[in-house]
Subunit: 333 residues, 2 copies
């Protein structure tokens, strides 16, 4: 990439961090910074902190032309207006449009998208999708799942982002995986959602419940249950702990049911797993097991023709996806 | 449309009929014919009958330029190669490519797509979507369900057909609606699929089971159960039959669960119901009930911002969608 082609200022705004970077045409982060999201300080201060991070990035660029600003946000957002709709991790920004708040002072065109959707776009072009192409396998349709505190996702079909009417397609944490009346409650108010069964929160909750109900030997029993995380369960799993094994196997089985439904819906040839829980999952050897459980539930050989792999771009995927969104908007003109 | 702009020869090939038409730029059928699909006569004869119908349409056009041939088929098909993959209703064509079989003799470029996907495209531009636009409501993302012997679907997102890697996205009959181990068996070999619970076949099966198990009064009890169809159940429902009411209410509840999952996946602002069972459904007043049951399960206000209506193009939707696919391929060039 030549500097004349210009760069993109990208931000990924989540519940914990606002990450900002300058990204070149090849999707490489040339400069990056992060500031804690100032939760609880009011929307005005939240907006000021975000704006300052962007101004810092803009200032870093000096005379290099800036093609636009791309922002990936955690939560439901209207992609046209940029208005947040009750974002669970950025609640103070509910009803606010970052475009409206920032456009005047930041000058460059601002594009906003959902973080999971943009991570999907980044993985499609420059992450897992690129890995597949490097080994000679074409990727047409990518389904990205992010499994951490919650569960989200994104779909790229033949280069197009599946947006949905309000930019809220692939809200895959809330498809139903357990339809029994006693299924686990979800944050959304429903029962048996994918998020309620396989998220980090769900894994921790299942484990705490099991610890309080069972007398069996487990290396987790001395852990402070108020701080128990899914990572502890994966660590115990790797150490051969039978309680953790039972819980993780249940999670794999539920995840397989969820992904099967999603494959019937989206027919991806590449399924990419990102987010903190999948970092834990990657320390196990369960990916092959997961894939075969998924395949067993699929209705046709063509639906079974998919690969599954871990995300390749880590915490940068939202920013890289945001920069690709800006590039793609320039091509549309 | 001026005749100079050219016309499209379109076919919709299902298990019972091969419908063929000449369609103008506005999606109007200028000429149409149908021949029974010669099931059981071998693939060579099947192909000959289809080809003859297309040649008849081509011959009708006389000197009017033909822009291309669009074919909607019942069953899984690879959209690039045109190869059928185990189409349940056209099994003799398994492994055959209509493009390869016909391209040489038919001269005009042949485009092939799944019938439900192309019906979705037709409803988006010229059916239910057009109705919504006429009353001033924009439609960005349309989810189409066809509920008849089986259950299929299609999604159009901001004008783009959601294809999936093999053109088999929106295989929505096989998302799981009942995850209990005793859930009804589906033709795909799974249990609790949407198709196993709300298709015409499922409604008839539920009714026959209920008739054999119950001693209650029902106007259906004198019917020949080997010929009982979902339409009989809807007719009995409208006459106030309590057994039919219970079955139809169960179907509405299962359909609502399925559509909720699909709305989380696709975020449509318009859900369109087509197929024989919805013709039965339209004789009841249950659409509002269905909509409110769907809304109750959705996780955000924005997902609840959708309309639901019956398909507007009837049996012509596949052919109209096939003609739109050809038009769209010309714009890509």
């Amino acid at each position: 990439m030549s500097s004349q082609a210009g760069v993109i200022v990208a931000m990924d705004w989540g519940g914990s961090w606002a990450r900002t970077s300058v990204v070149n045409h090849a999707g490489e982060l040339m400069w990056t910074t992060r500031v804690p999201t100032p939760q609880g300080t009011g929307s005005e201060n939240m907006l000021r902190v975000g704006e300052e991070a962007l101004l810092q990035a803009i200032s870093w660029c000096q005379s290099t032309p800036i093609l636009g600003i791309g922002i990936a946000v955690a939560g439901p957002i209207d992609v046209e207006s940029g208005i947040f709709y009750t974002p669970p991790n950025l609640l103070e920004l509910n009803g606010i449009s970052l475009i409206e708040a920032w456009q005047d002072r930041l000058i460059y065109p601002i594009h906003i998208g959902n973080d999971a959707t943009l991570a999907a776009l980044a993985e499609y072009h420059l992450g897992a999708g690129l890995c597949q192409r490097k080994v000679g396998r074409d990727v047409k349709t990518l389904l990205y799942l992010t499994i951490s505190t919650g569960v989200g996702g994104g779909v790229i079909d033949r280069g197009n982002i599946l947006l949905g009417a309000h930019g809220m397609a692939a809200e895959i944490g809330h498809i139903k995986i357990d339809t029994s009346s006693s299924a686990d409650l979800c944050n959304c108010g429903g029962r048996g959602c994918l998020e309620a069964l396989v998220s980090g929160t769900a894994i921790a909750r299942k484990t705490v419940n099991a610890l309080s109900n069972r007398s069996e030997t487990t290396i987790l029993k001395d852990i402070d249950i108020t701080r128990l995380s899914s990572q502890d369960v994966f660590t115990a799993y790797s150490a051969g702990d039978s309680l953790s094994e039972r819980i993780i196997n249940e999670v794999i089985s539920d995840l397989a049911r969820g992904i099967s439904d999603l494959i019937h819906s989206f027919n991806p040839d590449l399924v990419v797993l990102g987010g903190g829980v999948t970092v834990g999952l990657s320390t196990t050897n369960l990916l092959g097991n997961l894939k075969s459980q998924i395949s067993d539930s699929l209705m046709s050989e063509r639906h079974k023709d998919f690969e599954i792999m871990y995300a390749q771009l880590g915490d940068s995927s939202g920013m890289i996806g945001a920069s690709l969104m800006v590039q793609s908007s320039l091509q549309d003109i």
